[in-house]
Structure formats: C-alpha cells, structure tokens
C-alpha cells in the first residue's frame, strides 16, 4: 500500500488530467474557442460569392499555407462577401495581390489562394484585395452548360 500522500497526489493528477482532457475537447476539438494568433495581421478581400468557404479555412500562396480565414461577412450595400484573413506576420504581400477561392480536390474543403502581383508596395494591414475570383459553384456551371446546350439545338 502506498502512503497516503502519494496516493492523494496521483488521484489529484488523474482528476486534473481528466479535466484537462475535457477542456481540450471543448476548446480544440469542437468550435468553442475564438481563434487568435499572436503574430498575424489582417487583410480583407471582397468576393462576389464566397461559396463554401468557412472560418478557419486555409489561405495559401503558391500552395504554401500562410494564414487562415478569420471572419466572413456580407457588405450591406453591395451584397458582396467580405472575407477577413489572418496572415502570418513574416509574409508580406504586394498591394496588387489577387485572391481566388479554390477547392482542394473534388470534394475537399475550399481555401483562398493569393496571387502576388508585381508591385513594389506592400499590402498594408487591414488592406482590401479588390482583384478576386469567386468560388466556383458546381451547380451554376452545370446549369450554364445545360442552358448552352439547349440554346444550340
């Protein structure tokens, strides 16, 4: 039989581990937490349609992930989608960067791909990207295709 002190400590540790696991499940596995990165700056992009893009979707340049989507809202006047992104502070982008929404694989999640332009000036924090390409909505393309086919005949 172990002495009482060690036993108490181990029981305490066990309960602490269990509660830590519950917190881990709440914060990390489910979506209870608010995302925050320390070394990041915010940029915005205006899309006609942000499709299936979600908060926390990845943002990449040339296939390398440099940030994540932090908020998606709608512009009350133009009814366009304003996507707010957190970009890792070590990457600076030129101010003529363009943004497109792509899908990873046929069924994969949607992400933002940034195409840096040739400008010398960097994009400021809270800057807005105007040159964008919206998400491709598969139904729209199929609908368009069928419509064109019908028009031909």
């Amino acid at each position: 039989m172990q002495n009482t002190k060690t036993q108490d400590t181990l029981v305490g540790l066990f309960v602490a581990c269990g509660i830590a696991a519950l917190f881990f499940m709440a914060m990390q596995i489910s979506n209870l937490n608010g995302f925050s990165t320390d070394n990041a700056y915010t940029i915005n992009a205006r899309f006609e349609n942000s499709g299936g893009l979600k908060v926390k979707s990845p943002v990449s340049v040339a296939g390398v992930r440099i940030g994540r989507v932090s908020n998606i809202s709608i512009d009350r006047d133009s009814y366009e989608s304003i996507v707010e992104m957190q970009i890792d502070a070590q990457y600076s982008l030129p101010d003529d960067t363009s943004a497109s929404i792509f899908t990873a694989g046929l069924l994969g999640e949607q992400y933002i791909s940034l195409e840096p332009g040739g400008s010398e000036d960097p994009l400021p924090a809270n800057g807005l990207i105007d040159i964008t390409q919206s998400a491709i909505v598969l139904e729209e393309i199929i609908g368009q295709f069928l419509f064109d086919k019908a028009a031909e005949e």
């Binding site: 269990g18 499940m25 990390q28 489910s30 926390k56």
Partner: protein, 260 residues
C-alpha cells in the same frame, strides 16, 4: 422432459429474482452514497484504484485507436482527395462512439473485474458479514465509495481516451502522412459541435460508468461465496458489462443522433 421444464422455469424465475435483487442493491447503494460525503478519504482511495490505475491502459489504447483511425481514414479519404477531412473523421468517431464505448469496455475489464473479485472475496472470507456484526453497514463503507468512484472516473477516462486518440490521429495523419495541420484542426472544429457531439459523448460515458459500476459491484455482492463462485461472477461482470455497454450505446446513439 418434465425435468427440462422444471429447469427452464427455475432458471427463468431465478434470473428475474436476480434482476430484482440488483435493483434493490442499486437503490440501497444510492441511498448509502450520501454517507460517503463526510468521509472523502474512502472515495479518494477508490478513485486511486479505479481511476489512476486505469489511466495507463486507457491512454495507451486511446493513442493506438487514434493512430489506426488516422491511418485507415487516410487511405480511404485519399481516394477521394479528401484527406483534409481526416480530422473530422477521427474526432467524430472518437468523441461520439469509440471514446465512451472502448473506454467503458476497457474500464469494465480493468476496474470492473477487480471490483467484483474484491467484493466477492470479501464476501467469501466473511469480511462483509464481519462488518455487519460490528454494526458497520458494508453498503456504506465498501460499496458506495466504489460506486461513486466508478461514476466519477468513467467520464474523465473517456475524455482522456478521446483526446489522446485525436492526438494519435494527428501524429499519424499530419506527422507521417502529410495531411495539412491547419486543415486537420480546422475541419475538426468546423465539423464537431460542442453541444451535439462533446456533451453527448460525456453523457454516454457517465451512463456507461453508472452501468459498469452497478454491474460489477452487484455481481461481487451477489457472488456465491466460494472460489468458483467468485471466478464466475468476475466473468459475468465482463460479459454483462460488454453487452450492456453496447446495447446502451445503440439506444443512446439513436436518441441523441437519430434526428440528424
């Protein structure tokens, strides 16, 4: 022929009698549980033997279950180019089903059988009747602390199992197979809901903890006080717990996720 029917009738009535005894046992245990509150020392001792000693088997099994899920999930999902959804798959299957169920099965094997054997031997060596002679209620002194400890330890162990499993899946999926780290977590966080998934998983593990503690303590308390009787009771604990856990899991899943 008549003997066969006699036997059938006897085993039927005796199994109903046993069910009845187990319900009386449960109500007595629940009322006796109140008397544990002024004596937390008893509870801590039992939490040690039920919880701390199960810690290792639960975490190691959780790690390997998560790793296997990561590996198998990756091979299937990569056929569809959907490796990014690995995180959701691993976490959802762990938090909703595998965490509570496998943790409870391991708990029944690790802690439940030990409880039955301990109580059964106490009965066989007449320690329980000795206590009654000294006007100490064995339900209050022996059974209730063990019951409460199982009840408290089970959700914690299931949470540990799920968390370690998710980390194991991360280790294999992100570390070895090259799934994107952010997508693993972000898809998981987007795909799992706190209310629907996490809370329901915890409710499941609480129900399982209740059932396993009840079964193992009752089997020990009701064991025939011989060495063979104790060994049979221990076997019955594991078998009955497994049936009960899996059956309850189906019912709970149907109730919780049926309307999705």
């Amino acid at each position: 022929m008549i003997r066969f029917f006699q036997h059938l009738g006897h085993s039927t009535t005796s199994s109903f009698a046993k069910l009845g005894r187990s319900f009386f046992f449960l109500t007595h245990t629940l009322t006796a549980s109140v008397s544990v509150i002024p004596r937390p020392r008893l509870l801590i001792n039992q939490l040690y033997s039920v919880g701390v000693l199960s810690f290792l088997i639960i975490t190691i099994s959780g790690l390997f279950v998560g790793m296997v899920l990561g590996l198998q999930g990756f091979y299937i999902l990569s056929d569809f180019g959907a490796e990014e959804t690995l995180g959701v798959m691993v976490a959802a299957s762990l938090v909703r089903e595998l965490g509570p169920v496998v943790a409870a099965l391991l708990f029944a094997g690790r802690a439940g059988s030990a409880l039955t054997a301990e109580i059964g031997l106490m009965k066989a060596t007449e320690q329980l009747s000795g206590m009654e002679m000294m006007a100490i209620d064995p339900l209050k002194r022996i059974i209730a602390p063990r019951f409460l400890a199982g009840f408290i330890a089970m959700p914690l162990l299931a949470a540990l199992f799920s968390s370690v499993g998710v980390l194991g899946g991360h280790m294999v999926g992100v570390g070895m197979l090259g799934v994107d780290d952010g997508a693993y977590w972000s898809q998981m966080q987007a795909g799992l809901d706190f209310q629907d998934d996490i809370i329901n998983g915890i409710i499941k593990s609480i129900v399982f903890g209740f059932a396993v503690s009840w079964i193992s303590l009752f089997e020990g308390y009701d064991a025939i006080p011989t060495s063979e009787g104790v060994s049979r009771a221990t076997t019955r604990t594991v078998v009955n717990s497994a049936f009960t856990i899996l059956g309850l899991d189906f019912i709970l899943t149907a109730l919780m996720f049926g309307d999705i």
